[in-house]
């Protein structure tokens, strides 16, 4: 990586870590949701640095555009949840912190010590959107179609759960 790219990388990483920490530590759930959007946006930035522009666009569209906005709607429509102060921790927080720290550290160490990855850390080739589109319509057509069945099942399930019962 050349210097400007790596500078952007470090800035984005810093924003991701700080905002992710804010998401799990702030007491106002509305602020948490806003920091979550910032975090997901910065992850999209990392994807862009790796030339994965389709992934970055999908990240912004789905996570920032759909999921987070839905969450904010849910918070605002739930009465008084937006202004309430909710503690996000319980008595197990030290244990949980230790477990997460160990898992994160061991994952990092293991990845850093493995040198046999099939793909090197270089950026993706240009025009990978074309490649993704081609695979979705040829080799990966079956899972692509099954996902629509999955979405239908999820939709029916959501309607069943959300509908008010009339007896």
């Amino acid at each position: 990586m050349d210097a400007p790219v790596s500078l952007v990388f470090w800035i984005l990483s810093f924003i991701i870590i700080v905002s992710a920490f804010m998401v799990v530590s702030l007491k106002n759930i509305f602020h948490c949701a806003l920091f979550l959007i910032l975090c997901l946006f910065s992850v999209a930035g990392i994807y862009l640095l790796l030339n994965a522009e389709f992934l970055a666009a999908a990240q912004v569209l789905i996570y920032v555009g759909a999921v987070s906005i839905l969450m904010i709607f849910a918070i605002m429509l739930t009465s008084q949840l937006a202004s309430k102060r909710i503690s996000q921790t319980n008595e197990n927080k030290l244990v949980a912190f230790f477990v997460c720290l160990m898992f994160g550290l061991s994952t990092l160490v293991l990845i850093a010590n493995t040198h046999v990855w099939r793909y090197s850390a270089q950026a993706l080739p240009e025009a990978n959107v074309l490649t993704i589109g081609k695979y979705l319509m040829t080799d990966f057509m079956l899972p692509f179609e099954v996902v629509s069945v999955l979405l239908l099942a999820a939709m029916i399930g959501a309607i069943v759960l959300a509908r008010k019962e009339t007896s």
Binding site: N113, R118, D139, F140, L142, L150, G157
Partner: protein, 502 residues
């Protein structure tokens, strides 16, 4: 850019396509008839499952969509198990659709069928991505089904717990799969097997990241299998969810997890088995979890007073026995796993069906409420006793043959070389805990038969419930007395995985 469309071979996928369309028909039918009929949607679903089974018997072996869809012996064998468990689950849920689920009968049955379609896709996938999507299609309808009694706190709690645990375990699984992809450069399981072996031979050591991905995938599938230490959700979810759904969870969803496990580990990572592969040896890791499952399941079940919770712990223990066959890694191993799953389907679905019938009549799930049942409803008590004895592994019932094959597979591997003699210990723990298990199964039988009082409940079978119980009884006796034909089908599975009998 040139496109090459893969060979679809849609003929192989006809059972899945038909069942998917039939699920839509069931839901639409229920809406169009204004939800008037109490049981028409249920009978319609049963018919659909029967037709799917018929179509399945005509689809031969082969592959479609390039290498995306495999119709191999394992897929066909387990599809029969999925269809059978869905059939028995739907057959035993006519009581609750009469009394409790008034507004969404069509969706209830339709979602069971959707989940079955997901299991069937999973069984046919030979590729990590479609395997993952199949697993999701299996579980997402089950989240909803677990919470179908919306005004019951236990049911809602079960749905929430199952949803959160299920989403978390899916995340772990896909994280593990992403490492497998990074190490092998492909998501195709057969290609992954070759690539990992080449990398291992070229670099002499593939590194510990493989261990990380093995642990993550075991954790992800372990939640679906309720393999300890990933089992805590099981009793709460089984207790809260509708009884037929608990049965479907304990058989269908577990069999789906077994297929995923066999595909990823016994096939894809078969090179990384054995002490010379340390630290990437998954065999001993899974064996440890199996020992935990047998000990925790069988001891905690003794203390349960609710029969659904007892059956939940019993199902945890049963997964431990199945895993013995999984780590045996010889020509008997996978066949014994498939046979065990088949025998377990009849016994466990049957036991849950009896619990469901009893619950529909009385609303009770306590073991003590079964006291004296043999005097008031002798047929129900007798069939419950048979199912429980089969789960315990008493000859001449199916559970005995299943345990026998699993132990035989492990002993065969243990005797083959000195480095695998640790499998003797596994079999030893299995036999010891099987004796423990007799205690809590026999406890229910003691309540039913040797209680002084006479049960005030006279339970009558409805037609579909009687059919389910009879199917379970036939299966349990047939597989116990004459297991050879099924075992012959099952041995094709081992052969298709490359385990040739010597």
């Amino acid at each position: 850019m040139d496109f090459q469309l893969p060979d679809y071979n849609l003929r192989l996928m006809l059972p899945e396509i038909f069942l998917f369309l039939w699920a839509l028909v069931v839901i639409t039918f229920d809406v169009v008839t204004k939800r008037k009929s109490e049981s028409a949607a249920g009978y319609l679903s049963l018919l659909g499952l029967l037709i799917t089974g018929g179509i399945l018997s005509f689809t031969g072996y082969g592959r479609g969509f390039g290498t995306m869809f495999f119709s191999d012996p394992m897929a066909l064998f387990f599809k029969v198990i999925f269809l059978g468990s869905a059939f028995m689950a739907i057959g035993s849920s006519f009581g609750i659709t009469k009394q409790k689920i008034v507004n969404h009968r069509g969706e209830f049955f339709g979602l069971i069928l959707f989940s079955t379609v997901g299991m069937m896709f999973l069984a046919s996938s030979q590729e990590l991505l479609s395997l993952y999507i199949g697993l999701e299609l299996t579980t997402i309808p089950l989240f909803v089904l677990a919470g179908f009694f919306k005004d019951n706190k236990l049911s809602v709690e079960a749905a929430m717990k199952y949803f959160i645990i299920g989403a978390f375990s899916s995340a772990l699984l896909i994280y593990g799969i992403s490492f497998l992809y990074g190490l092998s450069g492909t998501t195709d399981i057969l290609q992954m097997k070759i690539n990992l072996a080449i990398t291992h031979l070229t670099f002499k050591n593939i590194g510990v990241t493989l261990l990380l991905s093995i642990i993550l995938v075991i954790a992800g599938i372990g939640f679906k299998l309720s393999l300890p230490p990933f089992h805590q959700w099981t009793p709460d979810v089984y207790e809260g969810s509708p009884t037929p759904i608990a049965a479907f969870l304990s058989v269908g969803s577990k069999a789906a997890g077994l297929v995923a496990f066999a595909k990823i580990f016994v096939n894809g990572l078969s090179a990384f088995y054995g002490p010379e592969m340390l630290p990437n040896d998954w065999g001993k890791l899974v064996a440890t979890l199996a020992v935990l499952a047998m000990i925790i399941g069988n001891t905690v079940a003794i203390r349960q007073t609710n029969i659904k919770r007892m059956l939940a712990y019993s199902s945890i223990a049963q997964v431990g026995y199945i895993m013995i066959g999984m780590v045996a890694m010889n020509e008997l191993g996978l066949s014994s796993v498939a046979f065990y799953a088949f025998a377990y389907m009849f016994a466990n679905m049957g036991a849950f069906a009896v619990v469901a019938i009893f619950e529909d009549k009385t609303g009770l799930t306590q073991i003590s409420s079964y006291a004296g049942l043999s005097k008031s409803s002798p047929l129900l008590a007798a069939s419950m006793a048979v199912f429980l004895l089969s789960l315990a592994g008493i000859p001449p019932l199916a559970g005995f043959m299943a345990k026998y094959y699993v132990f035989a597979a492990a002993i065969k591997t243990a005797g083959s070389s000195a480095s695998s003699s640790w499998l003797y210990w596994l079999v030893g723990v299995g036999m010891l805990t099987a004796v423990f298990s007799l205690y809590y199964y026999a406890n229910v039988i003691k309540e039913m038969y040797f209680s002084k009082e006479t049960s005030p409940y006279r339970v009558k079978f409805s037609a579909p419930a009687l059919m389910v119980v009879c199917l379970g009884l036939i299966g349990v006796f047939l597989l116990g007395l004459y297991p050879e034909p099924i075992m012959r089908f099952a041995s094709d599975i081992s052969a298709s995985f490359g385990f040739i009998p010597n």
